[in-house]
């Protein structure tokens, strides 16, 4: 009797602890995935209604591209033999690359739409200048793509992680959740940077820039195919993200001088206060 009650007490305690850990770890995953994008949203986008609209429209365009690519994949799946696993996997990989291409096509379509809207806004405003510049729109559009991409990748996983379960019970990796979170974070930021660079390339008609963005996106998707060999996918993706960050910074008009000025101004402010 006594041992039975001890056992049930232990079981109860284990349940409590595991659910607590799950919530904590889920919250840490939520924070790591969505922290930066949420911060970006609150500090740069939330105050300006036009930017919010452009953000949501960007999310919508990404969604449209996903819809079309899923349609193509679904048709391919239905038309093929569902028992052949390697074929199914091949079709999935094809789906991944096709989706990437379609996302870039829709990014271009969104660019054209925003250009037109911008011209319209400028035409009817007082001083012939629109309320928002193409660079700002590029950033917001990229963030919209990134947030939607991140949300779609991560939300189901997050909600599943709140429930009971054991990670990797069938022999899969233990690090599923944290790597998913990190990868999604990298992709969100990458989409933002790609948005900036892409729009800039379109503005200046530098087609090699556009080709580079598309190529890098394909590369990142391809690297993710190496999962669960996380050493092969995560560090290169983060490297690419840092590179893209630097490229986006310089392409949107930043320079070492402005960085310097920012630092010295901060120092001066700190000293004077």
């Amino acid at each position: 009797m006594k041992s039975y009650s001890t056992l049930s007490f232990q079981r109860g305690l284990t349940h409590l602890l595991s659910s607590l850990m799950q919530t904590l770890s889920c919250n840490s995953r939520k924070a790591s995935t969505f922290g930066p994008s949420f911060a970006l949203f609150v500090f740069t986008i939330a105050k300006d209604p036009l930017r919010v609209i452009i953000l949501i429209a960007g999310a919508f365009f990404w969604l449209l591209s996903l819809l079309l690519s899923s349609l193509v994949w679904f048709i391919a799946i239905k038309a093929s033999n569902s028992q052949d696993h390697s074929l199914q996997r091949g079709l999935l990989i094809f789906g991944v690359f096709f989706s990437v291409l379609l996302q870039e096509v829709f990014r271009f379509a969104y660019y054209r739409l925003l250009r037109k809207a911008n011209e319209g806004l400028a035409a009817i405003s007082d001083d012939d200048s629109s309320a928002i510049s193409v660079r700002q729109m590029a950033y917001v559009a990229g963030l919209g793509f990134g947030i939607m991409s991140g949300a779609f990748s991560m939300i189901n996983i997050l909600s599943d992680s709140l429930g009971p379960g054991t990670v990797g019970i069938f022999g899969d990796s233990q690090y599923y959740f944290i790597t998913a979170a990190l990868m999604t974070l990298a992709l969100t930021l990458l989409h933002t940077f790609w948005g900036v660079v892409f729009f800039e390339g379109c503005e200046k008609s530098r087609w090699w820039v556009i080709a580079a963005v598309v190529g890098l996106h394909l590369l990142v998707a391809g690297l993710s195919l190496l999962n669960p060999l996380y050493e092969g996918s995560l560090p290169p993706v983060y490297g690419i993200m840092l590179l893209m960050g630097v490229w986006a910074f310089f392409s949107s008009g930043g320079s070492l001088n402005s960085l310097n000025a920012l630092c010295t101004r901060r120092k001066a402010e700190a000293e004077s206060s």
Binding site: K47, P49, L50, V52, I53, I56, A57, A59, F60, L63, L66, L67, S69, S70, L71, W73, F74, I77, R89, L92, I93, G95, V96, S99, V100, Q103, L121, I124, S125, D126, A131, M148, S149, A151, F152, S153, I155, N156, I157, S159, Y176, T179, A180, M183, T184, L187, V220, A221, S224, L225, N227, P228
Partner: protein, 437 residues
């Protein structure tokens, strides 16, 4: 639960068409769905216009200023007004989705049905299910049409007291009965022990403050919060009691009805609005969500208008573009042709009928209820917001009455079915292998 008629009526009223408060303004085009600068008069009742799908009227005052300036002002404020509608619609949807995901009561299928959907769907036979859902839809839409016509007739024959009584009865039911049910289910879900005296006090306070805020005077934010809450409650009732397939067909049918009722010359809504215009009266909204930044009643002359502008400047805070706005206010104040005693300060907000809120939330709530897939919910949410945005854009371009339901509901339905059937398996396979696109 066989709900009574007043629930349906309250729903009808809520999706009322609201007309501009100042129909005397030249070239006023009232618009079905949303109103831009609009006066709110919470003291004066505006007649409710019918049926279900009138999401509120979208209205814009077209003043006698030159077109270019008008357009610029419209578009400058356009983005702000879109956001002023995004936020309450989002909040309502968040409340509904949160409830659906946590309180299982609203997703449990019970044998009780609304009297408006008398045919029970048999899950085993596809053909019969389809037929019965169509029949249910026909019944529901006819009920709505009949209610609308009754309302128009009542309004035409000036039975204002009857309409008032109807409105009060329906809000009473929502604020007391449905919120009591809701609270009961939340307590059950979280296993909270509650005694009746405390519960009575909570519900009493909630209900009475709600009645006062909605039908009389109250702080704007509180009124908005109450309107959002009752829209959410109503949407939850629909989600629970409408059978599966019927709900989707009804959503589609409502959008089509909305389109017809607003745009066709013999539509009941249009007739109602025209009657109200002829009489130079504002229409009763059963409940119209107003996102006015400030509204005041009883400013008589220009000196007061200035002080009102000051007040508005303070309250508008960061959002107001102060110079343009106060100038616009003064100009608009001048344009109004009310008698000095009754001059009402105009509010700079947008209005949207609660029927819109309800149906958007029903769509998103059903997406959340069936399947447990968050991607579908998110996709429907984005689709509805974009539909709302497009509707406002079309309004700015065409400057005539446009219904708010069709575009959003169409996008919502398309995205629901395609995400559920196409995107879900794709994303699930990708997540299983941890491929990222």
């Amino acid at each position: 639960m066989n709900t009574s008629d007043s629930e349906e009526d309250s729903y009808n009223e809520r999706s009322a068409l609201v007309q501009s408060e100042s129909p005397t303004i030249p070239s006023y085009n009232q618009d079905h769905d949303m109103s831009l600068p609009q006066e709110t008069d919470t003291k004066r009742r505006r007649p409710v216009s019918s049926g279900l799908s009138e999401p509120g009227p979208v209205e814009r005052e077209q003043a006698s200023t030159p077109d270019g300036e008008e357009e610029e002002l419209t578009l400058k404020y356009g983005a702000k007004h879109v956001i002023m509608l995004f936020i309450p619609v989002t909040l309502c949807m968040v409340v509904v989705v949160a409830t659906i995901k946590s309180v299982s009561f609203y997703t449990e299928k019970s044998s009780q049905r609304l009297i408006y959907t008398p045919f029970e769907e048999d899950p085993n036979s596809v053909g019969q299910r389809l037929l019965y859902s169509l029949l249910n839809t026909i019944v529901m839409i006819s009920v709505i049409v009949v209610m609308t016509i009754i309302l128009v007739v009542l309004y035409k024959y000036r039975c204002y007291k009857f309409i008032h009584g109807w409105l009060i009865l329906s809000s009473l039911m929502l604020l007391f009965w449905f919120s009591f049910m809701y609270l009961g289910e939340v307590f059950k879900t979280y296993n909270v022990a509650m005694d009746y005296p405390t519960l009575v006090m909570i519900i009493w306070n909630f209900g009475v403050v709600g009645m006062i805020c909605i039908h009389w005077k109250g702080p704007l934010r509180l009124q908005q919060a109450y309107l959002i809450v009752i829209s959410a409650l109503m949407a939850l009732i629909f989600i629970k009691y409408l059978p599966e397939w019927s709900a989707w067909v009804i959503l589609g049918a409502i959008s089509i009805y909305d389109l017809i009722a607003v745009l066709s010359p013999k539509g009941p809504l249009r007739m109602l609005v025209e009657t109200a215009q002829e009489r130079n009266e504002p229409i009763f909204p059963a409940l119209i969500y107003s996102s006015a930044m400030v509204w005041m009643v009883g400013m008589a002359d220009s000196s007061n208008t200035d002080s009102a502008d000051d007040r508005r400047r303070n309250e508008g805070g960061a959002r107001a573009q102060e110079g343009v706005e106060s100038e616009d206010d003064a100009a608009q104040g001048g344009r109004r042709r009310y008698s000095a005693e009754e001059d009402l300060e105009e509010d700079r907000g947008v209005k949207l009928g609660l029927g819109d809120f309800i149906f958007y939330s029903v769509l998103v709530g059903k997406a959340a209820a069936t399947g447990g897939d968050w991607n579908t919910t998110l996709a429907c949410f984005v689709a509805i917001l974009i539909g709302l945005c497009l509707t406002l854009l079309l309004l700015a371009i065409f400057k005539k009455a446009l219904p708010a339901l069709p575009i959003s509901i169409t996008f919502g339905l398309v995205f629901y079915f395609s995400t559920d059937n196409l995107v879900r398996p794709f994303m699930d396979s990708l997540a299983a292998h941890q491929y990222y696109i």
